[in-house]
């Protein structure tokens, strides 16, 4: 039985990838016991006791490295934790920085390097796109309101206004863009990324790089229906050769290690790179469902085992997200707020 901790169990309207990862781990051949890592006592995953055996609150990454590390070590002690699979952008830099220390304490991960992580900064996209043979929409990173208005005059509307970690808002007018800009600065600070919208099919690839230029499987999908927050609700598998080649180039060129997702817009023969996520996407269960259990493969890689590398999948498999309800007692909530764990 492998004790593994997974974060991102906030299955809300903008869901974290945690529950998808956990479902994959549970369906794998390696028996696991799952610890959920949460940042708020209301994260729904905490209450799903059939998926998550134990749950703990973590301090916000912004509070500093020491409290974060201490908390992880406390959980490791309590639970006999072996592996951590972080799944949120804002915590990844911390996990990457802490990796040598975590591993010295016997806590295993399978993460990109610091250098690789920096590639995902939205202002680095053009460099990555060029290296793997695809394009990027016109993108500008700004660090002040003046620069922002200057950037708007250089770009065609509609534009996407994005925070460095989270949030992407579409604006059709100057006024709308300014409103989004204020909202993003208030929450996520600078830089803010402004990007021209490219019309086309929204296609994404998920994979796990082995760190040596190869990978443990890829899956490409197209979003059929997205929510008002831009999150996938229905999707279908595709086998777009250009896109899959670009993803293999990405893994080979940067010797990517760990999970990743490339978000693209495919317009005719052109592929535009919109975003690189150095982690699993929230729809990762799609890969599990078509027989490429990437969470389990990543777990194996973290444990030092050799994961499978086959990744034949049929095009035309459908992904459907749905809402669910659960009724429970206040007791779990009470434990989370008074003890920080359950």
């Amino acid at each position: 039985m492998v004790k593994v901790a997974v974060s991102g169990i906030n299955a809300v309207d903008n869901p974290g990838p945690g529950l998808g990862i956990i479902k994959g781990l549970r369906e794998g051949k390696t028996p696991v016991s799952v610890v959920g890592l949460a940042y708020d006592a209301m994260e729904p995953g905490i209450y799903l006791t059939d998926l998550i055996e134990r749950a703990y609150l973590l301090p916000y990454p912004s509070e500093g490295e020491a409290p974060f590390l201490n908390r992880l070590l406390y959980i490791k002690e309590r639970e006999g934790l072996e592996v951590v699979i972080p799944a949120l952008d804002a915590e990844l830099p911390l996990f990457i920085d802490l990796e040598p220390r975590l591993s010295a304490y016997g806590l295993k991960t399978f993460l990109p390097t610091q250098k690789q992580f920096k590639l995902r900064a939205k202002d680095h996209l053009p460099i990555v796109a060029e290296a793997i043979g695809i394009k990027t929409p016109n993108t500008l990173a700004v660090t002040s309101y003046e620069e922002f208005t200057r950037a708007l005059s250089q770009l065609k509307f509609p534009v996407m206004v994005k925070g460095l970690f989270y949030k992407a808002l579409r604006a059709y007018t100057q006024a709308e863009a300014q409103q989004h800009f204020q909202a993003i600065v208030a929450e996520w600070g600078y830089p803010v990324i402004v990007q021209e919208v490219v019309e086309g099919e929204e296609m994404n690839v998920v994979g796990v790089g082995d760190g040596e230029g190869g990978h443990f499987g890829l899956l490409a999908i197209k979003k059929l229906w997205i929510t008002s927050l831009g999150k996938i609700w229905t999707g279908v598998t595709v086998t777009h050769p250009g896109l899959l080649t670009a993803a293999e180039n990405f893994v080979r060129h940067f010797r990517w290690r760990g999970a990743f997702e490339l978000e693209t817009i495919v317009s005719g023969d052109e592929i535009y790179l919109i975003e690189i996520n150095p982690r699993f996407p929230a729809w990762i269960y799609f890969a599990v469902g078509v027989g490429i259990n990437l969470p389990e493969r990543l777990l194996k890689a973290a444990l030092g085992e050799e994961p499978e590398r086959d990744w034949d999948y049929p095009a035309g498999k459908l992904y459907i997200r749905f809402t669910d309800d659960r009724v429970t007692d206040l007791e779990v909530f009470q434990h989370m707020v008074t003890r920080g764990e359950r």
Binding site: L330, F333, Q334, V337, T338, R339
Partner: protein
């Protein structure tokens, strides 16, 4: 009295069944709530606190009054309640 409707756990978790709000209190906060329910006034509570904890009755009284103000703001307490 509003306080009587609250579900108060020994861990310091408080649930208000009328409004659906929850709160947490620390050890001394819990003590004040319990004493209020017993019908004690601020001075008596402060005295009890300084008997049990390393605090002067004066500081304790200030803190009790501050605490009462806070729970009044949360709608859990009315200033006049203990005067009656």
């Amino acid at each position: 009295m509003k306080l009587n409707r609250l579900a108060i756990s020994e861990e310091g978790f408080i649930f208000d069944p009328e409004t659906g709000n929850s709160y947490t209190v620390n050890e001394t906060g819990l003590l004040i709530l319990k004493k209020l329910r017993e019908g004690l006034g601020p001075e008596e509570i402060a005295e009890a606190m300084s008997e049990e904890y390393e605090v002067s009755p004066e500081e304790a009284l200030r803190d009790v009054q501050d605490f009462l103000e806070t729970i009044a703001r949360f709608g859990l307490w009315e200033e006049k309640a203990w005067l009656k």
